[in-house]
Amino acid sequence: MMSWLTRLFGSLFKRQKEIKLGLYGPVNSGKTTLANRICMDWLGEELGTVSSIPHETREIQMKEKVTIKNKGKSLTFNLVDTPGIATKIDFEDFVKAGMNKVESKKRAKEATKGVIESIKWLDNMDMVLVVLDSTADPINQVNITILGNLDARKIPLLIVGNKTDLKSANLDRVKSAFPSYSTIGVSAKSGKNVDGLYKELFNALK
């Protein structure tokens, strides 16, 4: 009797599971620019700061209850922007980018923690946008490891070939590198085809 009551009240008051949509990818692929674009479009405020110096995002950032709309229907998710995943972090690279030695070492330390956090958070995701820089060679171990880990966890994903506003962008190269996944090209910076991304999200999560 008690277990029946527990089940009844459990189902009556069960909270709707909140969908976590993660942005994953290598360093400087434009994850935070895309997160900001989504947040500006639907909430009117940005999520994080962007920079040309690698590892600007060094902590997980989440914007709760982002609601997107399409054809009279709405879809709500928590948007999770993650630090870029890298296999190496050398403080000297930050020095070369113009930072002083103390700041560079601090940034490197924080960046390593960011990579660890990103990997740990993989298990929490319901869907992931794998954001790749479409001007860069897509066949690298970081991209392969991210995709392999999402597959192993059976987490649905969509590859977003970002920076398609740039002349050197090559979306076909991204598509041919990973033919078994759906890929969409966008420019998070200019907003090009971000509407197409929203439609894809709707189809995937609804």
Binding site: I89, D90, T112, V115, I116, K120
Partner: protein, 117 residues
């Protein structure tokens, strides 16, 4: 510069564990394992090496290659291969991992790896 290479049987890697591998990498050795590591193993190695990053150790370069192109295999061949790999206890292929201060880049195409030092 003296470059140290270590060729490691997958069985030995499994027996010695990740700590031994990371000690080798911190000791500036390039390690080659006679199996393709799983994505989870790769992620774990990245995670553990990130914890070791310092002025002297900047992380790793890592790449793995399968000896088979699964994308071009039919369903029956995939099943046969999966069964065989279950029996031998490893994925056929190889993995190369080097300290980033020694290995600057590993360029990968679907069939080969080029290591730049």
């Amino acid at each position: 510069m003296n470059v140290k290479f270590k060729l490691l049987a997958y069985e030995k890697f499994k027996k010695d564990g990740f700590d031994a591998l990371i000690n080798d990498l911190r000791d500036s050795k390039i390690v080659m394992i006679d199996a393709k590591l799983t994505p989870e193993q790769e992620a774990y190695i990245i995670e553990q090496t990130m914890k070791q990053v310092s002025e002297k150790f900047a992380g790793i370069e890592l790449a793995s290659l399968s000896v088979l192109n699964e994308a071009e295999m039919g369903g029956f061949d995939k099943l046969k291969n999966a069964l065989f790999e279950t029996i031998i206890g490893k994925k056929r292929g190889f993995t190369i991992i080097g300290p980033a201060k020694v290995v600057h880049k590993i360029k990968k195409n679907p069939e080969e790896l080029m290591v730049f030092m």
